[in-house]
Amino acid sequence: MKPAPFVYRRPASVREALDLLATTPDAKLLAGGQSLLPLLNLRLATPPVIVDMGRLGGALDEIRADGGELVIGAAVRTARLERDPLVREHAPLLAVAASHVGHPAIRNRGTLGGTVAHADPAAELPAALRALDAGIVVAGLGGERRVAADEFFLGPLTPALGAAEMVTAVRVPVARPEDRFGFAELARRAGDYAYAGAAVRLALAGGVLRGVRIALLAAGPTPLLARVAMAALEGQAPAGGRLAEAAMLAAERDCDPAGDLHASSQYRREAVGLVTRRALDEALPGYAAGGPS
């Protein structure tokens, strides 16, 4: 099917885009279009005004190191996240998570800012950003504010964004030598939305796990932190039995997935355990022993 008619504007600056959002009720931002265009084509969304971000350029296309953070512009395409040397070196979890998004044609067009603002609980990058304790840079007419990834995803497709605000960048702590990362998701076919996924960041220092963060995707109304599982590992020495226990806690205590057409709630819960275990194993190769993988 085809989109319903809309008025189309293509501002040349972030300021102009924000002015349009502020003065136009029900305007919708268009970034890569890989989430919005399906909704328009199926007429699940019929915004009267589309504001195309494609020409905003400048800082929105940049990836740069700034202090202890990697700053990634909102317009950076998912495919670029997969391959960019700065991302691969300083935020490898983002590069890996990006490689799991859809298919190449989707990754070539979809943007980091777009998937963050779309706030789909089954999306890979929002979960990776929670695992990394990233900051989302939000621009409004009054200036910029920073929202922790932990506070940005309020509900399904519900970001912490005002009507006249837009995501302009994401700031990710640069990986330290002791940091380890893992990512796993389970989907019926490659590229389908996942039944469950897990993004892990932890530090291994002095034989002990620190700063353990496990973020789950497709396990609830937002990307979730598996706090019980994380607490079970924090300050502990890594060992296969502990990893298996953490995976079980993530599945049994840290989520309450709803069943749907694609999978029952019990199946999704088991999938959460499986992907958590796989992601932990990837972060801690050589410590796996026992338990399903």
Binding site: A4, Y8, G33, L37, P38, N41, I50, D52, H103
Partner: protein
């Protein structure tokens, strides 16, 4: 504010200019406005890959791009692959390996394969399957498609 927009782009090396409805999809612009019907429309929501084209050399689902967004870009469709009337090596390989039956998925498959081989001239079978994973075929069972792409990567 208007719901028509001027677009200027290059399609298969030919500059094109038009004024189109803002809501016009690139797939429909190529097919209906330019008569380039090699780009097929399957699902119109980005799942089947039949409409895959190259935008500035990168694969894209033409049903998920507004024609307006393609302003200023170079679009390559299946019609743009032949050189001086000679089929592209990937097209020849698809013919030789019986990699099409009804042909509906074929242009999208070939464009995705062209992108893959430009980036990875000697892909493993796994890499071929992963790269083409977003293109659905109902006829062939995929094996001859993978064989054709493998053959195009390493010409005999």
């Amino acid at each position: 504010m208007s719901d028509r927009v001027a677009v200027r782009l290059s399609v298969n090396g030919v500059p094109r200019e038009a004024e189109v409805p803002a809501r016009l999809l690139l797939s429909d612009f190529l097919r209906d406005h330019l008569g380039l019907t090699g780009t097929h429309v399957g699902c119109e929501h980005g799942v089947c890959g039949a409409c895959t084209v190259l935008v500035d050399g990168a694969s894209a689902r033409a049903c998920l791009v507004l024609a307006a967004q393609a302003d200023g870009t170079e679009v390559t469709t299946i019609e743009g692959l032949a050189r001086d009337g000679a089929p592209h090596p990937v097209q020849r390989a698809f013919e030789r390996h019986f990699a099409l039956q009804c042909g509906f998925c074929t242009p999208g498959m070939i464009m995705a394969a062209v992108e893959l081989l430009a980036r990875d001239p000697d892909p493993s079978d796994d890499a071929i399957r992963t790269a083409l994973g977003g293109n659905v075929c109902r006829c062939t069972g995929y094996l001859p498609i993978v064989a054709a792409i493998r053959a195009a990567a390493k010409p005999a």
